[in-house]
């Protein structure tokens, strides 16, 4: 009786070990793509951008009607990363009590900081009086009133709306140099997924 019990016990142990091995193998298999997602695709002074972050960004964007290419998602994820670093350096994260002491910020928070920095960039940009005057005088058909402060502000905002995309692009270029960005694994070229 006791011998039979031992045999049964050994068999159960073997099956358990076998089962554990299968589970471990399965986990190892599943860990493969996960590891890929954790791969650093770009890095620079004081930061790393992982494939998981790029994919998280992609999922976030694709909740809406927009889709883009892998290359574009990587580029914009990198831009968000750099703008967040600058936003923090300027203390734009410290006025609402949402500051995270350490570690990675959640994506919605990163986007909030990105927007704050982008807004500051644009609002701090100085549009010259010459640009405003030339716009006013070049449009006599629509600019009929005097060039008072309100109209100057209206023209300034119009110029800034057009200027903003170029300003952000130039700033991104500058920050890539400032943070010595290296793209380790460029996303593949190609159209919208």
């Amino acid at each position: 009786m006791s011998r039979n019990f031992t045999k049964v016990s050994q068999a159960i142990r073997q099956r358990t070990i076998c089962g554990l091995f299968v589970i471990c193998a399965g986990l190892a298999f599943l860990a493969g793509p996960g590891e890929a997602r954790g791969t650093v695709v770009a890095e620079g002074d004081g930061f790393k951008l992982t494939q998981a972050e790029v994919e998280e960004f992609q999922r976030f964007v694709e909740r809406g009607p927009f889709k883009s290419s892998e290359k574009e998602y990587q580029r914009v994820a990198l831009q968000v990363k750099l703008f967040v670093l600058e936003a923090k350096a300027l203390g734009l994260d410290s006025d609402d009590g949402m500051s995270v002491a350490s570690g990675e910020e959640p994506l919605p928070r990163q986007i909030e900081l990105f927007n704050r920095y982008a807004k500051k960039l644009v609002s701090d940009y100085e549009v010259s009086d010459l640009a405003i005057e030339s716009f006013y005088r070049a449009h006599p058909e629509t600019m009929t009133g005097p060039l008072d402060d309100a109209l100057k502000e209206e023209i300034r905002n119009k110029i800034l709306r057009a200027k903003a995309p170029h300003l952000l692009r130039e700033t991104f270029k500058r920050l890539k140099e400032k943070y010595h960005v290296r793209v380790l694994i460029p996303a593949p070229e190609g159209g919208v997924q």
Partner: protein
Amino acid sequence: MRLYAAMTGLLVLLVAAGAGVVPAAAESPENASQVKPQPDVPLIYAQELLDEKIWPEAKLRQAFSRYWTLRQKGDLEGMFALEAPYFREMVPFGRYRNYLLMQGGNTKIQEVVLVHFAKKSPYCYDIGTYLEVVDPAGKRRKITVIDRWVQAGGEWYHVVRNPMFFPETG
């Protein structure tokens, strides 16, 4: 929902930023003006009413002549410097360059014939011209252009008015 709206705004901004991207080489001044020195483009007055006296200021005539001479020489960067300051703020040089190249950048201007002169304000004039051009095939043809010029800060500048290409500047 609010976050999604913020994200939408972000994307529109970034996509718009990407739309104006041109290769770095295209921005290079070296690429814009590598032509041999040529004489100024001839300015011809087409009607009896149009002569040297039509110019309200010598500076406008100089700027106008310089602009079309630069165009004749293919000096796109030089032309950009003569565009109105607000336009240079709103439109990057690469996009302006692409626009000019699509607007007959490969044609050779032989002469600029002034046919119309309209004062819109003391600081703004519309100047109608025929451009005598020769295309790469050697074919001679005329192009009608109405140029706007604006004075700001004591200087005269060219005004690009093309709502199809540059709707934001209108």
